[in-house]
């Protein structure tokens, strides 16, 4: 057997999604509103589900309703509906009790652009 360690340092550019990534770092749910049908996608869609390619950036309030949640080995994750969004969102749930059905987006800081919902009133500074 050949044992080999390979470390990779990526420098990834988010391109058109840069406003979304910048929003996450400070805890803003930056969504995309379609210029044609006004559908608001979060995470943002470059092309709206209606087929329109033109959209504008808009900040949602950041609060969301938890529709489904899964708990296990790697933590808690959910399928949620952000207030003001037309699409739903899959994300990490952080410190939200199982009985709680709502939460607010958490800032990812300078780390990876992690989509995370935390308990209302318990958001991280950022």
């Amino acid at each position: 057997m050949i044992s080999h360690h390979l470390g990779l340092d990526y420098a990834l550019n988010p391109g058109w999604m840069a406003p979304y990534v910048a929003g996450l770092s400070v805890g803003k749910a930056r969504a995309r509103r379609c210029q044609s049908c006004a559908a608001t996608s979060f995470p943002p869609l470059r092309v709206c589900t209606c087929g329109c390619l033109k959209g504008d950036w808009t900040d949602l309030p950041g609060t969301a309703q938890i529709l489904f949640r899964t708990t296990g080995l790697d933590g808690d994750f959910g399928l949620v509906h952000f207030d003001g969004a037309t699409t739903k969102t899959t994300l990490r749930l952080q410190a939200i009790p199982a009985t709680e059905t709502r939460g607010i987006i958490a800032a990812s800081g300078d780390d990876l652009p992690v989509l995370c919902l935390t308990a209302l009133g318990g958001e991280r500074d950022g």
Binding site: T70, G72, D74, L79
Partner: protein
């Protein structure tokens, strides 16, 4: 354009498991290829092109694997293409190869799927990499695992279409029980519902026993233009129809996050191609990455109007009207990713010829069998309908 008819002249799988014998993916690819070639009655010099399914260079640390396998298989000189579509890579390779024959660009082609998904990296490393199988910018960076996304999708399915813990157990027990008769299976097990309930929680409702394993292995098929098929292979199954489709990469952007829309579209396209209906499918190898995934697949493929009812009535058991995953499926037979779709197609071809593992070979053969594969949370779907030859055993 005249569309040529395509026959599966050769089909073979290596065992799927975690290799501890010092062999690597090149060895497994050669083993599967040589078995399939021998069954086809053809020679290496008859092969015009090679199609290789391999999901990720991360597994084998071999970029451009098709060129390397062309040499390793003794096929230097053939046209070689690597096909990739996540979990669907194998079926994408089958489609690409069959289309080449249909278009008249090749007479005989080899399709090889191989991946060392079990032995080359740690389970944690593979789980991290798989997280980037979905939208890397959103789900990937967030650390959403494959199991978590599938769990959320199944919960949405169950809420809309039904599906219980007991149904998950039924699928799990049935697939692994089938695997007990497949000597090449990774997880031939006879668990009880309690064993499943006692296995560690991975991402609720999924527990470890609801999940397919990571496996090593390879599968191969030889496809031939039907009018160039060797006389000895006149009973071989033909490719009757193929269909593929995609769904939105974000689960949350789908109108019904629990329904595999891409699979429904792919199946409709394959049925139109074959001139067949879902009701005529008598055998199916489905992409059961998780127990609930099989229920979602049955619904999307149109194999049942009421999945829970038909499951519990035994419709998908070995003796049922549409036996599902006689091989054990991904859950029982295992999942060396690139080999999966090729292996499903090989399994269907062997079953329709009456040449599968004796304990799993049905007494009466249906006209059609279905190989169903997808990547992402059914973000990319590819299905193939195979038809029994009139003179099959």
């Amino acid at each position: 354009m005249q569309v040529r008819d395509v026959t599966v002249t050769g089909a073979a799988l290596t065992p799927f498991n975690r290799r501890k014998d010092g062999t690597g993916f090149r060895d497994w690819a050669l083993s599967a290829f040589e078995m399939a070639l021998e069954r086809s009655g053809l020679e290496r010099s008859d092969i015009d092109a090679l199609y290789v399914a391999s999901e990720s260079d991360f597994f084998h640390l071999q970029l451009n694997p098709a060129s390397v396998l062309a040499t390793e298989l003794g096929l230097t000189g053939v046209a070689a293409t690597r096909c990739e579509g996540g979990g669907a890579s194998g079926q994408v390779a089958v489609h690409t190869a069959a289309r080449a024959i249909q278009a008249g660009a090749a007479k005989h082609v080899a399709v090889i799927g191989a991946d060392p998904s079990a032995s080359s990296l740690s389970g944690d490393a593979v789980r991290t990499l798989y997280g980037f199988s979905f939208d890397a910018w959103t789900d990937g960076m967030t650390g959403l695992t494959s199991t978590a996304l599938y769990a959320l999708s199944f919960q949405a399915f169950a809420a809309e279409h039904g599906g219980t813990e007991a149904d998950l157990a039924t699928v799990t027990l049935q697939n692994r029980s089938n695997a007990c008769h497949n000597p090449g299976a990774h997880l031939p097990r006879r668990d009880s519902p309690q064993d499943i309930a006692d296995s560690p929680a991975i991402a609720s409702p999924y527990r470890r026993l609801h999940c397919s394993p990571l496996s090593d292995g390879a599968a191969a098929i030889i496809l031939s233009r039907t009018d160039a098929t060797p006389r000895t292979r006149i009973g071989a199954a033909r490719i009757a129809g193929m269909g593929a489709a995609t769904d939105h990469m974000h689960l949350g952007a789908r109108a019904d996050p629990g329904f595999f829309n891409a699979k429904q579209m792919a199946m409709q396209r394959a049925c139109a191609d074959a001139g067949a209906t879902p009701a005529e499918i008598g055998l199916a190898e489905l992409y059961d990455a998780y127990a609930g995934t099989q229920l979602q697949a049955i619904a999307a493929l149109g194999l049942s109007e009421d999945v829970s009812r038909d499951l519990n009535d035994g419709a998908f058991a070995p003796s049922g009207r549409c036996a599902i995953n006689l091989s054990g499926g991904l859950m029982g037979q295992g999942a060396p990713v690139g080999a999966t779709g090729v292996g499903q197609t090989a399994t269907c071809a062997l079953l329709l010829e009456g040449r599968y593992h004796p304990a799993l070979q049905p007494d009466t053969l249906p006209r059609y069998a279905l190989a169903d594969t997808h990547g992402g949370v059914c973000t990319l779907s590819a299905v193939t309908i195979l038809e029994r030859a009139e003179r099959a055993a």
